[in-house]
Subunit: 227 residues, 2 copies
Amino acid sequence: MTRVLVVDDEPQIRRALSTNLRARGYEVDLAASGEEALPLVADRHPDVVVLDLGLPGMDGLEVVQALRAWSRVPIVVLSVREDERDKVAALDAGADDYVTKPFGMSELLARLRAAMRRSAPADDEPVVDTDDFAVDLAAKHVVRHLPDGDEVVHLTPTEWQLLELLARRRGRLVTQAELLQEVWGPGNERKSDHLRVHMAAIRRKVEPDPSQPRWLLTEPGMGYRFV
Amino acid sequence: MTRVLVVDDEPQIRRALSTNLRARGYEVDLAASGEEALPLVADRHPDVVVLDLGLPGMDGLEVVQALRAWSRVPIVVLSVREDERDKVAALDAGADDYVTKPFGMSELLARLRAAMRRSAPADDEPVVDTDDFAVDLAAKHVVRHLPDGDEVVHLTPTEWQLLELLARRRGRLVTQAELLQEVWGPGNERKSDHLRVHMAAIRRKVEPDPSQPRWLLTEPGMGYRFV
DNA sequence: GGCTCCCGTCAAGAAGTCGTGAAGAGCATC
DNA sequence: GATGCTCTTCACGACTTCTTGACGGGAGCC
């Protein structure tokens, strides 16, 4: 769930933004001042902050500076001020975008998406771990768990493609036709000889007892399954 | 040196932007169309792209899409179009900001700074150290640890780009296609000859025994890995 | 038992990839 | 125009990977 913190002193703007954002599936926190907003960022860890520049008490610009002292959360500034100096000051203080009121809701939403997309953590890092070995899909390598510590296993391109496919769909049966088509391209769905040879090679490298596979199971007549 | 690529079909806008940016110490490349711009991004690796939406031939939106297919360079879109749908389309295609003409130069510059600041690595470790050499990603140089003290190693631009990519993703396998695309631009994913030659050059300069690489490993058929 | 089908194993040759040296082109500088 | 640096391109041997065919075991069926 994506969380948005809206900071604005005008209740009707808060209400309008909150309604629109919730309707699009965002979770919304509201603050009426900078003093309210700062602890909310710390507690709720929003994915993006929408910040009105004209706040009573602590000014919007000060809020940006206070946030940037310790947080990298994307900040989209709203303001009625057209003056370029305000825009430059807010952006240079660390704001990510500056939208002038009145603004269209669809534009604001697009700018929020853009701000969040940029800050999105590069990649999730899926590692499929078993008692005997671990498949690191990001690093594209396999480590084998041995009594005397881990050991990196070298896989050939074909072996890796097969293991990756099975690991990504672990628990599910992957048919021979699917594997052949993914690895050897369309038109090779009949060459199950290849599959047997390469699956055997993978098992030799990662299974504790290759002749009695524990993780890479054969489903006769159908395909293979990684459990 | 910060490099900016300006893409606009109107010569006077190109001139105005170029003058202003150069006066502020940026290095500026110019393109009058999307077709000109794409290879320039591949060759020159700008830190940010300023892109006019109303281009003859290839439309600005198509340029955004084409760039985002392989590059994460920040894109600031310029446009006379006020229509919200244009803004939403450009931002959702992967643009980082959308500035409507006419615009103030100081605002544009602030938005460029904001776009570049966000894309800055902000990375954890700017120096990757091994027993035999250290790669300083911030200073962009390599020092080799020798028995009689350290020695600065001179790398050519291509060599540095390759080593930097591998160092930033150390431990992970980087495929040939990724390396070729990052360094030589899209469309060069098949020219693995280059890769072999330049990797050999890097190894000659940083590996203790280039014929038996200890840090820059080859994964046959897949790519390279910095461990 | 005999037969068929599917699978795992093995080995040898084919096919592809990598590292290396060297030659030449392109380009900036002097 | 000469020089030095860099990148590209090519050819070769060494090496890795893939393909292919043969063989044998086990399950199911007649």
